[in-house]
Amino acid sequence: MRDALEFEWMGKPSVVVVADALTGPADAMLRLCGVPDYPYLVTPFPVGNLDGDEIDARADGMIDDIVRMLYERHQSTATVDAAAGDAQLVYDDAFAVIDDYTRRGWTDGLPIVPPTRERVDELLRMTARAPGDVVVTLATRDGLSATVEQIAVNAAMAGCWPEHFPVVLATMDAMADPRYNLHAHTATMAGAQQVVVVNGPIRHRLAMQTGNGALGPGWPANNAIGRATRLVIRNLLRSVPGEFDRAGFSHPGRFGWCIAEDDENSPWPVLAEQGPSPVHGDATSVYATVWQSSIINHVRQARAIVDELALTVRTACDANWLHHDAAADSSFYEGRPFMFVTGREHARVLSQDGFAALDDLRGALYEGLTRPDRARRPVAIAGPSQIHVVYLHATGMQQTWFFAPFQSHNMVTRPI
């Protein structure tokens, strides 16, 4: 939709075809761009599985409208009241704030901390950046943006303590990188989850959980930081149902998902040091995932663990459009990351039985994901260096999780 408007503004009459499943985001884009009544063509979803005859039939059904639209000038009659909405709102008490913010759709459905001026200022004092500095701009959403202060408002709502705010800010910096392609995976029907991984001594200063239970609830820093990023995406970048969010199932990880790696006990370089531009010390990495697979086994041979991981991931990727035939044709392919999160038991076997070096583990996994196999197509992964491993000091269960990547994104790491 955005492309068609750009062409119109260039003076080229345009017609865009949108699947009926995505008219919500299309209409949101039109409202955002100030042309809510711009006409477009709607065709039933999906288009990708049609055969040639079916495509011809769709084209036959649309051609009259296309000709008409190319010969008629569109005149928008809509106006936007730029003054609407007070910057500050006044309530009787905190319960009234929570009720009203929920009613307005400004929360994730859970209660929020009222973002008072005083609380937001406490967060802002943790950064030298000016409140009005723009941190995120989505060109593909007509320049929709988030400033330092707006991010602080949402972080306060998420329950962030002031000392959490530098992590939130650095994370949003990372998410703003075009390689992360935030617009795509916050508007996809796949309902992608934005995962944050923190490395460095700041994990200890914030008492982040890096061991048992680290992927779940109960850890103020992990949970509030993750939730803050999702509230920014929701409230400021407008990924809400009816606007840009068009998730089919969605996912509980979209309440917020912030992982702190156990740097000290990892047998391998930490995540922030695994990419092409390693960051040492306090760092945040952002990843986008669409589903996860768990591998649980009790084997004591590293090679057997690698084989099980490869089999599981390869099978799931074959069934979920992450095989080479379906997902290798993208500008994001070369940098598409594949993230594994492993606990103590698997890490110990792997590192003590031939895979003390991360590159050796990457090589073995890559070989298992891509070697010829009659039953499963190769995984759409560009090379061994695209494999990343995060270590949690989670004990007891011999478990590793695979975080399947959203196809069109690269992982981005930023210092905190």
């Binding site: 492309d3 062409f7 003076g11 495509i55 296309i66 709102l89 006044v90 973002p115 795509a184």
Partner: protein, 96 residues
């Protein structure tokens, strides 16, 4: 005692007066038509089918095909510049 809070959402923006929709094609005008596929499966196939029908309905001088680097990103600067220079009308697909 009342409590005052800050809005967590952007304020509505004013319309950009420099933006205006294109003038439509003129009757009898032979047009160069750009097809811009976003890379979703069958997007270019659908555009090709539409272009074939368009050629029999209006005066189409030439059709050129463009494919975006990936879904949800803009066309390349090169392609945008060429379309700006050359095309009279654009068909894009598919929001799928």
């Amino acid at each position: 005692m009342s409590i005052s809070t800050l809005r967590p959402v952007p304020r509505p923006r004013a319309s950009d007066p420099t933006r205006s929709m294109a003038r439509p094609l003129r009757a009898g005008e032979a047009a160069n038509v750009a097809l811009v596929a976003n890379g979703k499966p069958n997007s270019m196939e659908l555009l090709d089918a539409l272009a074939a029908r368009l050629s029999s309905r209006i005066g189409v001088r030439e059709v050129r095909r463009y494919r975006k680097p990936s879904v949800s990103v803009a066309p390349t600067e090169h392609d945008m510049a060429e379309i700006a220079e050359w095309a009279h009308a654009v068909l894009t697909a598919v929001g799928d």
